[in-house]
């Protein structure tokens, strides 16, 4: 009985199996071969280009009003805010009357906290004055004619200013506006203003939100002024969601210089993205398991600009656009894939930069190349918010500087019949 009990207990212990071996390999393991092959694909880029104009107007997370001074750095940005639906009348009993006079008008802005904007944090310590100018930028031109809007930033259209020392800039700012100008626009039913900063120093002010336009208006027959508060709104908003809401967007009054030849530019203002279309051997995508792949680029230093040592993450995203010809669209429609697709660099850096693509290959495997071109899009994680610009040698550069793909893969293991 004791023997039986011992046997049962020992046998029960075997229910938790452990039959992992390997110490006797390769003597007793003829099937244990896994081959990892490293390869470098040099002539792998079929098309690369820099695409300017990101982010699309109206899709910015904030309006970064920016001004740079320097030999190669003269960037100026401006924010546009539209109030396209302003009531023209005031109620008088059961009737109403057109606004005839505006006693006072002001614009309220919310400034992004320095804790939330690391790039602006250093500016918050500057003890120099900064002025936020407000311009009347309404035009009869098309909503998408930003050149016409830019032309409206001139002294004659200035309708308000707010000056403060930068280290004393509060979170909420009220900019008083010219009442005559506001009255004229209220009588037309809309007001579009442009914001920019002025300072003797390179400066940026991140505007998190334009809260409202507020004015006290009078009409014939009314003894007292009536307060009107209007939020930003745009008559251009697409109903189907295919157009961004243009109630607030950023324009660049003066951008970063054009990049030199033979480079792909990433970042800058207006921000650029690097479009790189690859032609990978189909067997690497379809028939083997890629365990590591990296897009290897050679960075060319950008020096002499205000922010050339500020490190910014650069992402290598994969394009999900199926249109082979429209590289602008291909550069816009992107997504990230698993893996280390991001590298933090400063514009003045140089040397090799590897963007890991191992997570991208399985994504490409799901769709034939004829339907989904193998496109990598490089973009700055702070595009539209910061003028840092990065240059990488393109496929037109000398051979040793061109983009290439380093790939490591495991062919199918013949592990079936002994």
């Amino acid at each position: 009985m004791l023997l039986a009990a011992i046997t049962v207990v020992v046998a029960a212990g075997a229910c938790s199996e452990d039959f992992t071996g390997g110490g006797a390999c390769p003597l007793l393991c003829p099937e244990s071969g896994v081959e990892i092959i490293n390869d470098t694909l040099d002539a792998v880029v079929v098309l690369d280009s820099s695409v300017r104009g990101f982010p699309l107007p109206g899709t910015e997370s904030r309006l970064t009003l920016l001004q740079r001074f320097g030999s190669g750095d003269t960037v100026i940005t401006a924010g546009i805010v539209r109030f396209d639906f302003i009531p023209k009348t005031l109620p008088i009993g059961a009737d109403s009357a057109l606004v005839a006079k505006v006693d006072s008008a002001e614009l309220r802005l919310s400034i992004a906290s320095a804790q939330l904007d690391s790039f602006s944090r250093r500016d918050t310590l500057k003890r120099v004055p900064v002025t936020i100018d407000v311009y009347d930028v309404d035009t009869a031109a098309s909503d998408f004619d930003t050149a016409a809007v830019r032309a409206r930033f001139r002294p004659s259209t200035l309708i308000g200013s707010y000056t403060v020392r930068r280290d004393s800039l509060p979170d909420s700012v009220f900019v008083r506006l010219d009442t005559a100008a506001v009255r004229a626009r209220v009588q037309e039913g809309r007001l579009r203003v442009g914001l920019r900063i002025r300072s003797d120093s390179s400066m940026q002010v991140p505007v998190a939100a334009i809260n409202f336009l507020r004015f006290w208006a009078r009409a014939p027959g009314l003894d007292t002024a009536v307060l009107r508060t209007v939020g930003p709104s745009s008559s251009s908003t697409g109903e189907g969601g295919d157009l961004p809401a243009l109630d607030r967007y950023l324009i660049v009054l003066r951008g970063t210089p054009a990049p030199p030849p033979q480079v792909l530019a990433v970042g800058g203002l207006p921000a650029q993205r690097g479009y790189i279309r690859l032609s990978l051997p189909s067997n690497l995508v379809d028939s083997v398991t890629v365990v590591r792949a990296a897009l290897v680029l050679t960075q060319a230093p950008v020096r002499g600009r205000t922010d050339d040592t500020v490190r910014t993450p650069i992402q290598a995203n994969v394009s999900i656009a199926r249109d082979l010809l429209d590289i602008g669209r291909a550069s816009l429609l992107v997504r990230s894939t698993p893996g280390l697709f991001e590298q933090t660099r400063a514009p003045s850096d140089s040397g090799l930069v590897r963007f890991e693509l191992a997570g991208t290959i399985p994504f490409w495997r799901r769709t034939p190349e004829a339907e989904l071109p193998r496109v990598i899009v490089l973009r700055s994680s702070r595009e539209g918010e910061f003028p840092s610009e990065f240059h990488f040698y393109s496929s037109e550069a000398p051979a040793h500087l061109r983009p290439r793909v380093e790939i490591s893969y495991i062919p199918r293991v013949d592990f079936s019949l002994p």
Partner: protein
């Protein structure tokens, strides 16, 4: 080998794989012998006479009345080479079956037994140079499953001295084969590699046997199996075919000593018929399986006798290791007792096996076996 979850799926039960990293699990796997705990404890010598073993269909007649049986046989194994020593624990359910009696002379039974158990796993470590980085990795080869022998057999008692039997066999099962490579890259730059495939097997065979008592104290049992074609299939594609090995077995038993059965057996299988089923690297060896053992009347316990069993066994395993023949020698012992008023029998066995081959590798295995027979 039959995996622990056999009750959930009979087909899964038939999942063997040839083991690697050991001597016993080369090729298409380990052949447990298709014998019961009782027969195993006698070195296999009683296998031809044992009704619950899956060798001789004529032995089914000794069921005498309807019943079911199940066997559990975990193995504790140690593989030693010049550079390493590794231990492993494998749980096997190598045998199960049922029998139904029709009248007093006919028994029909179904037996499911592991024919070749290909369950094994190896893990090896290495490093690979990726660009500027030397990254460690671990490669894991994993094989699970078995080829199982499902036998439907009938036995007829022609007289007190002669019993005959016929069996129809279906060989079914599958091997699930996995390869994993995991890289120790904390930055996530290197993706893991995984490959999974499944090979299914199917085939048929027939067997026949007799159990003859020419003298009161002498028993002779002879059985044989002729195989048809065994197919290895992956994704509806036949990878290879081969004939199921032919098997011939003979057993002799002497019962002239009071309270004792002394038996000897020999079995031959032409495993080389499986050559065509595997790759060119597969090496097979036709082999003999000899057993010598005894079952002795032991003490009485709870009103029933407790038989004690002893045996020795030597056999050639079907598949070679690094091209060399693998021999297995084992000593075994066991005992059994009746429970539930004689309606059930529990058998216990313990076998210590030594497996050797040229090349320096050595394997020691201890196999427990517990068999439960219920005959209401």
């Amino acid at each position: 080998m039959i995996r622990p979850h056999w009750l959930l799926s009979l087909l899964a039960l038939a999942s063997p794989l040839a083991a690697q990293g050991t001597l016993s699990t080369q090729g298409f796997g380990y052949h447990p012998g298709q014998i019961s705990s009782r027969a195993r404890a006698t070195g296999g010598a009683l296998g031809e006479f044992d009704p619950t073993s899956a060798l001789n269909p004529a032995a089914l007649a000794w069921w005498e009345r309807s019943g079911v049986m199940l066997e559990y046989a975990p193995e504790f194994r140690r593989v030693t080479t010049a550079d390493s020593r590794e231990s492993a624990t494998i749980a096997r359910f190598p045998l199960s079956g049922a029998a139904i009696a029709f009248g007093g002379r006919t028994i029909v039974g179904v037996t499911l037994s592991t024919f070749l158990d290909r369950t094994w796993e190896t893990a090896q470590r290495g490093t690979h140079q990726f660009a500027d980085d030397l990254i460690p990795y671990e490669v894991e080869f994993r094989s699970a499953g078995a080829i199982n022998d499902l036998r439907l057999a009938g036995a007829w008692t022609a007289s007190n001295a002669l019993r005959v039997g016929l069996g129809a066999h279906v060989f079914v099962g599958s091997n699930r084969l996995d390869v994993f490579t995991r890289f120790s890259d904390t930055l996530g730059r290197v993706a893991d590699f995984g490959q999974r495939s499944r090979i299914s097997y199917s085939g048929a065979a027939a067997s026949a046997g007799i159990d003859w008592r020419p003298l009161r104290s002498i028993g002779v049992a002879v059985s044989g199996r002729l195989g048809g074609t065994l197919r290895a299939v992956r994704n509806d594609t036949t990878l290879s075919t081969a004939d199921i090995p032919m098997r011939l077995g003979v057993g002799l038993a002497y019962t002239g000593l009071r309270g004792a059965v002394i038996a000897a057996s020999g079995e031959w299988q032409d495993w080389s018929k499986l050559d065509g089923l595997g790759s060119a690297q597969l090496t097979t060896f036709d082999g003999w399986d000899y057993g010598l053992g005894a079952e002795l009347r032991g003490p009485r316990w709870f009103g029933g006798e407790v038989p004690l069993r002893l045996g020795v066994r030597r056999r050639t395993l079907p598949f070679g290791a690094a091209g060399a023949e693998v021999e297995e020698t084992s000593v075994s012992g066991g005992w059994g007792f009746t429970i539930a008023g004689g309606r059930a029998v529990a058998d216990f066995g313990l076998a210590r096996a030594s497996r050797t081959a040229e090349g320096g590798a050595r394997e020691r295995a201890t196999t427990l076996s517990i068999g439960l027979i219920v005959r209401p």
